[in-house]
């Protein structure tokens, strides 16, 4: 059992106190060892001890957002995983992808999912999209110490804004830096080692107000370009049928593209590159 429960099995006082609606804040008081940023690390740089996740792209569309991630995790020059999933739903209307130390990233995603759900249950209402992004920024900031020692993780957050200030921009994208800086992006954004190439590809092809269907194709193309020039990013693996994870967030909620849907798109992209390798 997690800490905090005394032998009688009753709820300790801090469980029933008014306290906070934030789960991470609650954990920081009761079970700080469950927070990724609170663990003591051995001195020195520990960058190559754990697998690294790589490229994630997000695109704002007319209906919301599309987020896609490749499936590779690397450890130095080795491929640690061919089928890691780095894009997940954060709650019913938002998506989160991670680049950097995979283990800490996956833990951050799990914690962030609980954080949002916890707030909903305690308060009986959902956080605003800006509120969610700010919470995530605070969680990334908490990991700064580990990041300085090489265990950096940077998320990409995107979602459908249920109460947008500007009705034309329901799909919004937020990027972060290791210090917890929060930046709202316009149109599209990519993170991870292949982001340079993915962003260059998107810069030429992206048009504001693109449809979700076209944006899915754009995202897979951008990941192809990233994999083309970055060894740490995995391209479509046609022999094993491993294709990028693509998710959308719209007024209807989040949706992960089924295996059939993504296979169709990925095969079209590969087919196109057979004729013109540059896209």
């Amino acid at each position: 059992m997690a800490t905090g429960f005394d032998s009688s099995g009753r709820l300790p006082d801090f469980f029933t106190s008014t306290g906070t609606s934030s789960f991470t804040q609650f954990l920081s008081q009761t079970a700080p060892e469950l927070l990724p940023g609170r663990r003591p690390l051995p001195p020195g740089l520990s960058a190559d001890v754990a697998p690294h996740g790589t490229t994630i792209v997000a695109i704002a569309t007319a209906e919301g957002v599309v987020m896609a991630g490749d499936r590779r995790a690397t450890m130095g020059n080795l491929i640690a995983s061919r089928d890691i999933k780095k894009v997940h739903p954060a709650d019913s209307y938002s998506l989160i992808g991670i680049a950097g130390t995979a283990g800490i990233g996956i833990e951050l995603i799990r914690l962030f999912q609980v954080e949002l759900e916890h707030y909903e249950k305690i308060e009986g209402a959902m956080l605003s999209l800006d509120g969610k992004a700010n919470r995530l920024a605070a969680m990334v900031r908490g990991n700064l110490g580990a990041a300085m020692q090489g265990l950096a993780v940077v998320p990409l957050f995107a979602g459908f804004d249920l109460s947008p200030a500007d009705s034309g921009r329901a799909g919004r994208i937020f990027s972060f830096d290791v210090a917890g800086g929060l930046y709202e992006e316009t149109g599209y954004e990519a993170i991870g080692s292949g982001s340079l190439f993915a962003k260059s590809a998107l810069k030429k092809r992206y048009r504001a107000g693109v449809s979700t269907e076209d944006a899915i194709r754009l995202a897979v193309e951008a990941l192809y370009d990233a994999a083309d020039d970055d060894t740490a990013t995995g391209g479509p693996d046609v022999t094993r049928k491993i294709y990028p994870v693509v998710m959308t967030a719209t007024a209807a909620g989040t949706h992960r593209l089924s295996d059939e849907e993504i296979t169709t798109v990925a095969e079209q992209v590969v087919q196109g590159r057979m004729e013109n390798p540059g896209g």
């Binding site: 009753r10 709820l11 029933t16 799990r110 249950k121 700010n134 249920l162 947008p164 200030a165």
Partner: protein, 278 residues
């Protein structure tokens, strides 16, 4: 020196019980019952403060009595469930563990403090079939009961439970179960022992949907509730959602933080230039 009066432990316990029971009887009642598609939770509640809420994927919480006390217990339950779910797995959060914690907590408060909690709570967990549903009733003194498919809490709960006992059917449709719950709640509290007809706005209704993946809790309100109370079925998609149901669009944006992209410029404008429609 002040005279120390002796009070026997039995007397102390009896006084506390009576105090708690009186407090609970002052409030309105709630019922929880299984139906074909899950577990239905209905509370008589005209305020926006909630007596029924979600604890975890398959678990809901209903309470009657003093609001501040059961709200503290509810928060504690949500925190405990989320902590277990994060440390282990989502499937490892069970109603029985929660009920055990609640009974220990309420039992300790009853025997160790001056004032017992004036609450009666229900922890419900939906299973794959009505036989696998679990309903736990935990009372102010920490006693816990595993209820057989239906339960009533609050003042005159015996009378309400009698109505349920005669007619409860775990294979009933949602609208039939809701009609029974509303009738049972309305069977007490009328003038001169008359029954009352409860309307949609007097009821707080939620279900744990047996067939739903992930979070099974759904709140039923507004048009869907009125339709169900009129003995008509409502398509599953229109039943309402968890508490994450979209908040109403706000215009203009209620708060502007430093992270918002539009801090500059807009703040300078006087109110009359903004929008102008209001």
């Amino acid at each position: 020196m002040a005279m120390q009066f002796y009070a026997s432990p039995e007397q102390v316990q009896r006084d506390r019980s009576e105090y708690a029971r009186k407090g609970i009887a002052r409030g309105r009642s709630a019922v929880v019952l299984t139906y074909e598609g899950g577990i239905l939770l209905v509370a008589e509640n005209i305020t926006t403060l909630r007596k029924i809420s979600e604890i975890y994927d398959k678990i809901a919480f209903a309470a009657v009595g003093r609001y501040n006390e059961f709200e503290a217990l509810r928060r504690g339950g949500v925190r405990m469930a989320d902590m277990i779910g994060l440390s282990y797995d989502r499937r490892d959060v069970t109603a029985r563990a929660l009920a055990n914690t609640y009974t220990q907590t309420l039992g300790a408060i009853f025997s160790e403090t001056q004032k017992p909690y004036e609450v009666e709570i229900c922890v419900a967990q939906v299973g794959a079939s009505p036989e696998q549903d679990e309903l736990y009733r935990i009372t102010y003194d920490g006693s816990v009961m595993d209820e057989p498919g239906f339960m009533a809490m609050g003042g005159q709960s015996e009378a309400i439970a009698n109505v349920l006992r005669e007619r409860h059917d775990s294979a009933a449709e949602l609208q039939v179960a809701l009609a029974l719950a509303a009738e049972a709640l309305g069977s007490v509290g009328g003038e001169n022992g008359q029954t009352r007809t409860l309307e949609a706005k007097q009821l707080e209704v939620a279900v744990l949907d047996r067939r739903r993946q992930g979070r099974a809790f759904r709140r039923i309100a507004g048009a869907a509730l009125a339709t169900l109370l009129g003995h008509e079925a409502v398509p599953n998609a229109d039943l309402g959602d968890v508490d994450s149901a979209p908040p109403a669009p706000a215009e203009p944006k209620p708060t502007v933080s430093a992270a918002s992209a539009d801090t500059e410029g807009k703040a300078e404008k006087p109110d009359s230039e903004k929008g102008g429609k209001a």
